[in-house]
C-alpha cells in the first residue's frame, strides 16, 4: 500500500518543548546508581529486621479465619463480600484491565503529554475525584455491613431478598449498577463543574480507579478480621495457624 492510500487525518497543531539536553553519562547514570543503592540498602535492612511470614504446614482440614489473599488482591476480596463471585472475581478485574488499556485510544490528543496533572484544573479534579470515590466506597461498605435485613442478618442483598426479590438483584444488578453509576456521575459532575475536556475526564476516572483500589485494599488489609467482619486494626486477631 502506498503512502497516499493511508487514511489522512488532520494533524494536531502542537508545540513541543523538550528543552535543554544533557549527557546520559553522568547525569542519568548517577541518578540510577543512587536509586539502586538506596533500594538495595532499604531491602537489606528490611530483610534483616522483618521476617517473611511462614505459618503452619498447609492443612485442608483447618480453615484459617480470616483467610486472606496477598494485599494487592484484597481489594477484589473486599468486593467478593458484597457481590456475586463471578462479578467480583472475574468480570470486574477483566473490565478494569480492558478499560485501563483503552485509555490512550479514548484520549488521543498529543497535547498534554509530559506535564504532571495536565492543566490548572488537574489537581482540583484529582482531589475532588479521590474524595468523591472514597465517600462512596466507605459509605457503601458501612451500609452493606450494618443495614438490618429483618431476620437478624445485615446487608443490602439480604434486605432485597427479604422483600421477595431474586438474589441476582442484590448480588448482581445493584452492585453492577452502582459500579457504573459512581464513575458516570463523577464524570458528569467534573464535566459540569470544571468544563472538563477528554483528558480531564480521564484524570477523574483514573483517580476513581486508583482511589477505589487504595480504599478497598486498606479496608481489606486493616479492617477485616474474624469472619471478614469490619473491625479496627487493633481488634484483629491473628488467624489460627500462627
Amino acid at each position: 500500500m502506498s503512502q497516499e492510500q493511508l487514511p489522512v487525518t488532520e494533524p494536531e497543531q502542537v508545540i513541543e518543548d523538550p528543552g535543554e539536553k544533557v549527557h546520559v553519562w553522568p547525569h542519568l547514570v548517577s541518578i540510577e546508581l543512587v536509586g539502586a543503592l538506596i533500594f538495595t540498602l532499604l531491602l537489606i535492612l528490611m530483610a534483616i529486621f522483618v521476617k517473611a511470614p511462614l505459618v503452619d504446614l498447609a492443612n485442608p482440614e483447618v480453615t484459617p479465619n480470616p483467610s486472606k489473599a496477598p494485599w494487592y488482591f484484597l481489594g477484589l476480596q473486599e468486593l467478593l463480600l458484597h457481590m456475586h463471585p463471578a462479578l467480583a472475581g472475574v468480570i470486574v478485574p477483566t473490565a478494569v484491565l480492558v478499560l485501563l488499556a483503552a485509555i490512550p485510544y479514548i484520549d488521543t490528543k498529543r497535547a498534554g503529554t509530559g506535564v504532571w496533572f495536565y492543566s490548572p484544573k488537574g489537581i482540583p479534579i484529582t482531589i475532588f475525584s479521590a474524595i468523591y470515590t472514597t465517600v462512596w466506597n466507605v459509605s457503601l461498605i458501612l451500609i452493606d455491613e450494618y443495614l438490618p435485613a429483618g431476620d437478624g442478618s445485615t446487608g443490602i442483598a439480604p434486605l432485597l431478598i427479604s422483600w421477595g426479590l431474586p438474589p441476582a438483584v442484590g448480588y448482581v444488578f445493584v452492585p453492577a449498577a452502582l459500579m457504573i453509576f459512581i464513575p458516570w456521575s463523577l464524570a458528569v459532575i467534573v464535566k459540569r463543574r470544571w468544563d472538563a475536556d477528554t483528558r480531564e475526564l480521564m484524570i477523574a476516572l483514573y483517580t476513581f480507579f486508583l482511589a477505589s483500589f487504595i480504599v478497598l485494599t486498606i479496608i481489606g488489609t486493616g479492617f477485616r478480621g474474624h469472619g471478614m467482619k469490619l473491625m479496627w486494626p487493633w481488634q484483629i486477631e491473628p488467624p489460627i495457624g500462627h
Binding site: P18, I31, F39, V50, L54, L80, P104, V115, Y206
Partner: protein, 263 residues
C-alpha cells in the same frame, strides 16, 4: 587523580572500556554507545526527563526489583523442593539451618511486594503525566500486560511455601477463577491441575513461577524498553498550539526546534 589513573589507565581496563574514563563530551557519547547495558539509553536526554520528580525512577526501580528477585530466587531454588511432602520443610530449613537462608528468603519476599508496588506507582506516574498519549499508546498497553505478569509472578510464588497462608490464599484465588461465567470449571481445573489443590497444583505453579513467567516478563519488558526508545524516549511537554505558556512560546521563538541525535 593518581588512584583514578591507576584504575583507569591500564591495558586491562582499556581492553574492557575502550573509551577510557568518560571525561570529555566525545567520550561521554562513546561510553553509552559502546556499552551493552548503557546503550538502552539514548546518548543525550532532555534535562527535565531525568529530573527525579518527573519519573521518580519508578520504571527503573521496577526492573531493579526484578533483578534482585532473580538473584535471590536462584539462591532459594538451590534449597527449595517442589513436592507437597517436602516443600514446607525445605522452607523451614532455609529459615533455620541454611547459611543466609532466612535473609535471602526475606529479601525475595519484600522485593516481590516492592515490585508490585513500584509497577503500580509507575503506571500512576505515567498516567498523571499524560505519557500514555500517542505515540506511546501501545507501550501503555504493553505496560498493562507487564502489570498482569508482575501480579501473576507474585501470586504463583505465594503458593510455594505450602503453609496455611499459601494454601488458603490459593483456595480463595482458585474459587474466584472458578466463578468465571461459562468456563469457571475449566479455569478452576487449569489453575489447580485437577479437582483439588495438591501436587499437580504445586508443580504447575512452581514451573510458571521459576521459568515461564520470568522469561515472558523479560521478553515483554524488552519490547517495553525498545518502544520507549522508538517512541522518542521519555515524554517531554507538548502544548496545544494556541495554548502554550507564554514563557515557552518566547523561548522557542526563532530558535529552530532542538532536533538532535537520537542515537
Amino acid at each position: 587523580m593518581r588512584l583514578r589513573d591507576l584504575i583507569v589507565n591500564n591495558r586491562f581496563f582499556k581492553s574492557i572500556y575502550r573509551t577510557g574514563y568518560p571525561d570529555t563530551a566525545r567520550k561521554r557519547v562513546m561510553v553509552v554507545i559502546n556499552s551493552l547495558a548503557l546503550h538502552l539509553h539514548p546518548v543525550r536526554v532532555p534535562k527535565r526527563a531525568v529530573r527525579v520528580t518527573y519519573t521518580w525512577g519508578l520504571g527503573g526501580l521496577s526492573i531493579f526489583m526484578f533483578v534482585i528477585l532473580t538473584i535471590t530466587g536462584v539462591f532459594l531454588m538451590f534449597y527449595y523442593v517442589p513436592s507437597v511432602r517436602e516443600a514446607y520443610w525445605s522452607v523451614v530449613s532455609l529459615d533455620t539451618s541454611v547459611m543466609m537462608g532466612q535473609f535471602m528468603r526475606n529479601m525475595h519476599r519484600w522485593a516481590a511486594h516492592m515490585m508490585v508496588l513500584m509497577v503500580l506507582l509507575h503506571m500512576t506516574r505515567v498516567f498523571y503525566t499524560g505519557s500514555y498519549k500517542p505515540p506511546r499508546d501501545f507501550n501503555w498497553v504493553i505496560g498493562i500486560v507487564l502489570l498482569v505478569l508482575t501480579m501473576l509472578l507474585s501470586f504463583t510464588g505465594y503458593l510455594l511455601p505450602w503453609d496455611q497462608l499459601a494454601y488458603w490464599a490459593i483456595t480463595v484465588g482458585a474459587e474466584m477463577g472458578g466463578s468465571a461465567p461459562f468456563v469457571g470449571k475449566q479455569v478452576n481445573i487449569a489453575l489447580l491441575g485437577g479437582f483439588e489443590i495438591g501436587q499437580a497444583t504445586l508443580i504447575r505453579w512452581y514451573t510458571l513461577h521459576v521459568i515461564f513467567l520470568p522469561l515472558l516478563l523479560i521478553v515483554v519488558v524488552s519490547m517495553h524498553f525498545w518502544r520507549v526508545r522508538k517512541d522518542g524516549n521519555i515524554s517531554t511537554p507538548i502544548y496545544p498550539a494556541e495554548a502554550a505558556p507564554e514563557e515557552v512560546r518566547r523561548r522557542l521563538q526563532g530558535s529552530a526546534p532542538a532536533n538532535d541525535e537520537m542515537a
